[in-house]
Amino acid sequence: MDSALIPKGVKRCPIWQFALGLGVVGAVLLWGVYAMILCWFKGLNQTNMNDYYGFALWIWADLAVIALGGGAFFTGLLKYVIGKDELKNIINYAVLIGFICYSSALLILAIDVGQPLRSWFIFWHANVHSMLTEVAFCLSCYFCVLTIEYIPLILENRQLDKVPFVHNLSHTMHEYMAVFAATGAFLSFFHQGSLGGVAGVLFGRPFAYREHLFIWPWTFFLFTWSAAAYGPCFTLLVTRITEKITRKQLVKDTTIQLLAKIAGWMMFTYIIAKIIDTVYWATTTAPSLGFTLKDFYSNNPVYGYWILFAEIVLCGVVPALMLITPKIRSNRLLLTLATILAVIGVSLNRWVMVLQVMAVPVMSFDIWAMYYPSWQEVATTILPVAYGIILIMISYRYLPIFPQEAELNPLEPEADMAAAAGTEETTEEVPEPGLTPAEA
């Protein structure tokens, strides 16, 4: 039915299977949309946030997806600016994942503000000293970059590409992509950084506060660095998951290994910097504000030293070492494990920098505030995941995302009718099984 839209030389599952998948994920999406509408019309009382938890699950999700989406800018930087041409085989997917992450982040922000109809004030009445202003500006600009990077991909759809103007446009945009990618890297540097700055400048919150370099606290640089390090891991992980689900190899090992190696070294250097930062903060910054490390990790049911260990050692040092060790890296399973750890690590870091900041009492007579999200918060946080899956499903089906797919999976004349449903391991991706030909 939709075979005219499917890229040449590749196989896709039958339309009914595709539609079924879309339907399942779409139901989750609708659930999220319902929660979103509740939040917009009834207000943020639909959440479990409170005056102690002004920032909660959403802001964490925001920071996390932006960090994970960092694969787009960093891979872009490597490919277009530094010239690692090998990465052209994964850049499309990195861009798509980035686009999903950033559009999700913007969507979450649109739900998160108390007065969505006034959210343009952040631009119009900008306070340039606020990290959040910097975030808003760079985030929206960078989203424009991602859109610009994603557009040629859409234009390469088999049918669209037939229109000469469209063809020429995508061609031209490809040609000059380096300019956009460089701008994107510039913007990313600042918004990833300023997201780190959001917590780091809070001098009223000794748990978050960090010493400054120029106008930026250390977290500014750590966030940028960690996004560059951990973002590609997420790209690798999602690629791996996609490969698992489609049961095809989509990107060649050389590309994967190159990106994994770079990510590994980035992580390795990042985690050293992070350890130095933590030690300095624990021994110098916090005590100067009247706090000991123990104050931040005791006297409450959740936040213990374990979280520090999990973030820095288990999901920081360990995956970094795994990735920079060629032997481990080249093992597919261990590589996947390392990327999973890395994704958890950066998510934990963002959690700590948002949620634990809110939880730690500052006034000596105040309380540790604990929080759990309401279903509306959970649904609106899952909403972008569902949306991302749908966008990936559509993009994968109709756009030439993986340049190496056709080469790695040459079409066989015979249709392989083997059904493959139900055997896959459960992942957050909805299974899109089957390598059945487009036309039965």
Partner: protein, 741 residues
């Protein structure tokens, strides 16, 4: 030319570009942002001329001077009146919330008659004429039947023109049963009568006291005039006066005191006697006063020395011997020591023996009618009125004994014993009650043993309420003739118990009546007129305002002008003139009472061995627990360690809780001989082990959703215990146990 997809696209692009160059998108965006400021459900208060009206707030017992800021016709803020003698600018949280009571949804908007079951809160509106003639008919029938004494009337305040008018109405009607809700005033009045021989009220010159022993009085939690007492507490901090707080719980007063002395509940009087023992034993008492101006000291001395040695007292009270001795010495050696009692806010009187024992300490150190001491004050009287006219039925009715037994052979010194009414009605002695008039009182909520009170009210065939707000007792009424709110009416406000100057404040209308309500005084005058005869003749005034002016005629001009009248130069009588007793002296022997029985501790209800804890109620300054419920602002400032959602938290010592297997916030069922309640546990190091403390004032079933169904009414769980020596309500707590929910 073909209009195809492309042309349409081109037109749209053109339209988009063009639109961007007009104000349309930008203006709409701006206006939408502004629209979010003006949501129709957000009220925008209109502006207008600012005026200030002085009045007196009668919401709490304090009677503070207030200044109400008005904008146009709306009252927008209540502030303390800076030149008012008692509060001098400060204000309590309840009176500051007064506008929520004035404008709130709990107001009773018009006269109503009950429809359906009592308490079902279903009403039919009446016109004032209908309502008054209905009530007059009812009361007329009872009087015609020759039973005027079977009509009773209840008020909270004993003094002022309204209680006086009600009492006058009852007298002219022929009933001796004008009563007020019990309070420490009853006990102090009795103390004055039996020790000083004075028919008056007690005053304390707290400002000038330099050492205060408080036997559980919540001095900064609503005892006396809240604001005045808090001001005095601050003054004590400046002058380094000493406050020792004796009570089982670390109350706000205990927290501000120089020393908190925890004591087993109900044994405060015993401690006072123990302190007396040391003072007598060590001859620390004031020889001049004791030898020359007191009688019965030997009996008192004998009674104290025979059973209240520090060792004995320590065992009974849980207070260290050394503390008892130290307190006695400090007290006796202070320049102006003062001992006080009346638990919490003093809304439950307590046993008479306790008052005698505590007040005897003041006498021992001779701090009676002296600066910084306890003063016998004259009662505020309505001196402008003539005597009521009585006809034969009235005389006959008045000759009957009172329902509560006050003034009878058993309780000759008691003035008010409303706490005895439920028991009396149950027993049908001395006669049934056919009608009850309730003015400014909510006994169903505010009195211990509310279950008994409910039963008693159920037995009364006709209940008339003058309530302004839909409280629990009003819900039980058959007819409500709603009074004006406290900010809509004239009223004289005599100063509270404990204040050491004769003083009177004048509340005046701040705003026009907001509903179809009438001043209860006017309602009463119209009722009297409808009843006709001597009743009408005894209440001849055209309206309440005229009646009030006449009552206060000697001071009216000053009251109207300044808003209050005070006798700044008042000094109590000298010792030689102060005691109109038989001996002409202060009577340590309490007019021949059996001191041993008098001083015996009142046992709590339910001593059947199945309870291992004691439940004590406590008064919180942040919860109204009297005739008026807590407005939303008050409920808002209640701690989440007191009320969480709809559940009350009871305080338990961590040790006690641990023994019973409870941790912070755990759900539990609190059982007492009177009932069970679901509660949560709050661990408090500020409570004696073995006790459970519960705030009074929660658990309303009437009022609005901001107040009702929150927590438990402590009075549902704690019964009223009668002091056999005086008839007073001696309740201090009840046996209880905490079990897992």
């Amino acid at each position: 030319m073909k209009i195809d997809r492309r042309s349409f696209l081109a037109m749209s692009v053109g339209g988009a570009v063009g639109t961007a160059l007009t104000p349309l998108p930008w203006k709409i965006q701006d206006d939408l942002a502004i629209w979010t400021q003006m949501w129709p459900w957000t009220p925008f208060p209109p502006d207008g001329e600012n005026t200030y009206v002085n009045s007196v707030s009668t919401l709490c017992g304090g009677g503070c001077g207030i200044t109400v800021r008005k904008v146009g016709e709306r009252a927008v803020k209540i502030e303390g009146r800076e030149d008012y003698p008692t509060n001098q600018g400060g204000i309590c949280n309840l009176c500051a919330s007064g506008l929520q009571m004035l404008y709130g949804p709990t107001r009773i908007p018009y006269p109503m008659k009950r429809l359906g079951e009592r308490g079902a809160n279903q009403w039919v509106r009446l016109s004032w004429e209908e309502a008054i003639s209905m009530v007059a008919e009812q009361l007329g029938e009872i009087r015609q039947a020759g039973q005027p004494e079977t009509v009773a009337c209840l008020s909270t305040r004993p003094y002022g023109s309204m209680p006086a008018l009600l009492k006058r109405f009852m007298t002219a009607y022929g009933s001796p049963n004008f009563m007020t809700t019990p309070s420490m005033m009853d006990a102090y009045d009795m103390t004055l009568k039996r020790m000083h021989g004075v028919d008056g009220r007690m005053g304390f010159d707290l400002e000038n006291a330099d050492y205060v022993l408080s036997f559980g009085s919540g001095l900064i939690e609503g005892w006396g005039n809240t604001v005045h007492m808090i001001r005095i507490n601050s003054k004590w901090k400046d002058t380094n006066a000493v406050l020792k707080q004796i009570e089982p719980r670390l109350s706000n007063t205990a927290a501000k005191a120089d020393q908190w002395i925890p004591i087993l509940p109900g044994t405060e009087g015993i401690l006072a006697l123990g302190i007396g023992y040391v003072i007598i034993k060590e001859s620390l008492y004031d020889y001049d006063f004791v030898n020359n101006f007191s009688a019965g000291f030997d009996e008192f001395r004998r009674a104290v020395l025979s059973g209240y040695s520090p060792g004995n007292v320590s065992k009974q009270t849980g207070v260290d011997q050394s503390t008892i001795v130290a307190l006695a010495r400090e007290f006796a050696r202070a320049r102006r020591p003062l001992a006080l009692c009346g638990r919490g806010q003093g809304t439950v009187p307590g046993g008479f023996g306790e008052y005698v024992a505590v007040h005897a300490l003041n006498a021992l150190v001779g701090n009676i009618n002296r600066p910084g001491g306890a003063w016998a004050m004259p009662r505020p009287e309505m001196d402008g009125w003539l005597e009521p006219v009585l006809d034969a039925p009235a005389e006959a009715g008045l000759a009957k004994p009172r329902l509560d037994g006050a003034g009878s052979a058993a309780f000759p010194f008691a003035g008010q014993l409303f706490n005895r009414v439920p028991v009396a009605l149950k027993a049908g002695e001395p006669y049934p009650c056919q009608a009850l008039l309730v003015y400014d009182a909510n006994p169903l909520f505010s009195m211990p043993g509310s279950g008994m009170v409910r039963e008693a009210l159920q037995q009364i065939p006709f209940i008339l309420s003058f309530a302004s707000h839909m409280d629990e007792t009003a819900m039980m009424a058959d007819i409500i003739l709603p009074n004006l709110s406290h900010l809509e009416r004239w009223e004289d406000v005599p100063v509270t118990e404990g204040f050491h100057r004769p003083m009177l404040g004048l509340a005046q209308p701040v705003v026009d009546p907001q509903f179809d309500t009438l001043h209860a005084g006017d309602t009463l005058l119209q009722l009297a007129a409808a009843l006709g005869g001597t009743v009408a003749a005894s209440l001849p005034w055209e309206n309440y305002e005229a009646c009030l002016k006449e009552a206060l005629s000697p001071r009216w001009a000053e009251l109207e002008d300044r808003g209050y009248w005070i006798d700044e130069n008042f000094t109590p009588d000298d010792w030689s003139l102060a005691f109109p007793t038989v001996s002409g002296k202060f009577d340590f022997a309490v007019s021949g009472a059996d001191l041993k029985t008098l001083f015996a501790m009142t046992a709590p209800q339910g001593d059947d061995g199945s309870y291992n804890l004691k439940l004590i109620p406590y008064d919180s300054v942040r919860i109204a627990n009297g005739a008026v419920g807590s407005p939303p602002f008050l409920i808002k400032i209640v701690s989440d360690k007191v009320l969480k959602g709809k559940t009350v938290l009871v305080e338990v010592n961590p040790e006690t809780a641990r023994a019973a297997g409870f941790g912070e916030g755990d759900q539990a069922v609190l059982k007492t001989p009177l009932g069970d309640a679901a509660v949560r546990v709050h661990l408090s190091d500020g409570l004696m082990p073995g006790l459970v403390a519960m705030p009074r004032g929660l658990g309303h079933t009437a009022y609005d959703r901001y107040l009702a169904q929150k927590g438990v009414n402590a009075n549902d769980l704690i019964g009223s215990v009668e002091d056999t020596a005086s008839g007073l309500d001696a309740t201090w707590g009840i046996l209880a146990s905490l079990v897992k929910a």
